[in-house]
């Protein structure tokens, strides 16, 4: 399209390039049928189904859900928010791992350097910490909502059990992360917490020893908690989350499969 100068206007050239790009074979290959990003996407019942069916993330959900299931006042999205917080914590956690060394000599300094030397270090650390607290809270509230709606009743008994395990794992994740800043607060909170493990009948001392990698909290404990926090517990919780979501999809929540 030519303007008065006999040249193509920039606006039109951009539009043309855009159409060429989105119509190209590469983009076509990436987007599955029904993707709303596809050129010429039309809002039809068929495409609405395709959006969900053809996307690896969205297909956690069924194509249709009960109408009252999407009411905010009813669901409060607490389960989904717990999962989202877990993702946020994973991302911020990976960021923090770049700057953190789990040794008695370096751990504290690394945390301090995070707030002074690293771009956005303080912000990311704060998000990680408050996100963890929020996740404990949202998992607990999620459980409460499920209880008050009686959503654990058959056929969903097993998913409730998985949910309780997820709550426990969330607490363990939070607790193991609590030690990592290696300051007085971390050290003594974990000391108080693990002292309770010492009261386990018969095996008390053994349990405590295995947990702390010694008789009391030390640098060895720091490494142990670090590995548990960044690898072991996330690994286990992801497996249980997969089962949890699968069963929500199969057995449904209180408002049918979500």
């Amino acid at each position: 399209m030519a303007n008065g100068n006999g040249r193509t206007a920039l606006k039109d050239r951009v539009k043309e390039a855009q159409e060429k790009l989105w119509g190209s074979q590469v983009v076509e290959a990436i987007l599955r049928p029904g993707s709303p990003f596809k050129q010429g996407y039309q809002d039809s019942p068929r495409n609405r189904s395709y959006v969900v069916m053809n996307n690896v993330l969205y297909h956690l959900h069924p194509v249709k859900v009960k109408r009252h299931g999407v009411k905010l006042s009813y669901t409060l999205c607490l389960g989904g928010l717990s999962f989202f917080l877990f993702i946020v914590l994973t991302i911020t956690g990976i960021f923090l791992m770049f700057y953190y060394t789990p040794t008695g000599e370096l751990a504290y300094d690394d945390i301090q350097r995070l707030s002074t030397d690293v771009a956005f270090g303080s912000l990311v650390r704060n998000i990680h910490r408050w996100g963890a607290h929020l996740m404990v809270l949202s998992v607990f509230l999620h459980m409460s909502r499920v209880f008050y709606h009686g959503a654990y009743k058959p056929p969903r008994e097993f998913n409730w059990v998985v949910g309780v395990i997820l709550l426990l794992l969330t607490l363990l994740l939070s607790f193991s992360g609590y030690l990592l800043p290696w300051d007085q607060l971390a050290l003594w909170a974990v000391t108080v917490g693990t002292n309770m493990a010492g009261f386990v009948p018969v095996f008390g001392n053994q349990v405590k020893f295995a947990l702390l990698a010694g008789a009391e909290v030390s640098a060895a404990t720091l490494l142990r908690f670090y590995v548990l926090h960044v690898l072991a517990f996330p690994f286990v919780i992801v497996i249980f989350m997969a089962v949890h979501f699968w069963r929500v999809r199969k057995d449904g929540g209180v408002s049918g499969p979500l």
Partner: protein, 337 residues
């Protein structure tokens, strides 16, 4: 062998008992295989002459049989159960005992209504074993709602009837819808995209906003470097364990530190769905469960709050307005610098 629902079995037995003039219980016992074959009381004059009209009335299952749904009933027409078929098939051998002249299968599958109509034209046509099946090609057009079987009476040659005429009797009527329903109930549903997705995305944005604001306003605490030889006073667990730590100051550690979290906290919670057998999800039906859980929440919230706010030096009781708050997690509450 198909498992026959009890109500159908009973209805069938009632009809058969009425046909043979024997007690229902005896027939039922025979059908379920718990009793001896039913003796037909031969002495009873069952071969009373059947008039054309009577035969028609019997062949066409109408008001006389209470089991027959009225023709106008819409629900009966909608659901033709394929499962009704084995019902009839299972019945057949027993009927055959009394059938002196076995009827060819081709004849057996003719339909009720044509026969009934023919019955009025001449008595000869009445004498057929009539069985109505829900036809596979859907040509049952309304008459398919019944699976009726008409069987000859046990006749030692009929005395008062013309040659070749056999009387018939309706043995049983099987309601087609009894075994399975075909269509699920319609429910009010919406598309996940965009309705649920929009909701989730909004929730996600809201929590991200909240998190960022919190992260900017509230700084994470970082006290002095860890020192094993310097115990701060008081030493507090993370807030989600503070309720337990509070319990520790009331009970023996074996109870508060181990028994309570393990048995009520973990195992108890896991067992909830297996203990609570009440199938209802309405809050008004489960007052006890709701009350119990609310007490749990209120209790743990109170204990946690005591631990956070009301415990000072040496984890002794203190008032936050008098002695200050001893909770280092909130040390750097707001940074305005």
């Amino acid at each position: 062998m198909v498992d026959i629902p009890e109500d159908l079995l009973r209805r069938s037995a009632e009809a058969k008992a009425r046909a043979l003039g024997v007690p229902v219980e005896a027939v039922l016992a025979e059908m379920t295989g718990e009793g001896p074959p039913v003796e037909v009381p031969r002495a009873e004059p069952m071969e009373r002459p059947v008039t054309d009209a009577e035969a028609a009335a019997e062949a066409e299952p109408e008001p006389a049989m209470s089991e027959v749904p009225p023709r106008s009933q819409p629900e009966a027409e909608v659901e033709i159960s394929q499962g009704a078929e084995p019902e009839v098939a299972a019945e057949e051998p027993k009927v055959a005992e009394y059938d002196e002249e076995p009827v060819p299968p081709a004849e057996a599958s003719s339909e009720v209504e044509p026969v009934a109509a023919e019955a009025e034209t001449g008595p000869a046509e009445v004498a057929t074993l009539v069985e109505e099946r829900p036809s596979d090609d859907g040509s049952g057009n309304g008459s398919g709602r019944l699976a009726a079987m008409v069987t000859p009476r046990p006749v030692v040659p009929p005395t008062g009837l013309p040659e070749g005429v056999r009387t018939q009797r309706l043995l049983t009527v099987v309601k087609a819808r009894a075994i399975q329903t075909v269509k699920p109930d319609p429910t009010d549903k919406v598309n996940t995209w965009p309705h649920l997705m929009l909701m989730e995305f909004s929730a996600l944005l809201a929590i991200t906003g909240l998190l960022v604001v919190m992260a900017v306003v509230i700084h994470s605490p970082l006290l002095d470097p860890a020192n094993v030889n310097l115990t701060p006073n008081p030493s507090k667990a993370p807030w989600y364990f503070l309720g337990l730590q509070e319990l520790l100051s009331y009970f023996d550690p074996q109870i508060a530190g181990v028994m309570v979290p393990t048995f009520t906290g973990l195992i108890g919670f896991m067992l909830i769905p297996f203990i609570d057998k009440n199938p209802s999800t309405r809050p008004s039906d489960r007052k006890f469960a709701v009350m119990l859980y609310s007490i749990f929440i209120a209790g743990s919230a109170t204990l946690t709050m005591f631990g956070v706010l009301f415990r000072g030096r040496g984890f002794n009781w203190s008032y936050p307005w008098r002695d200050g708050i001893f909770f280092d997690d909130l040390l750097d509450w707001v940074h305005f610098e």
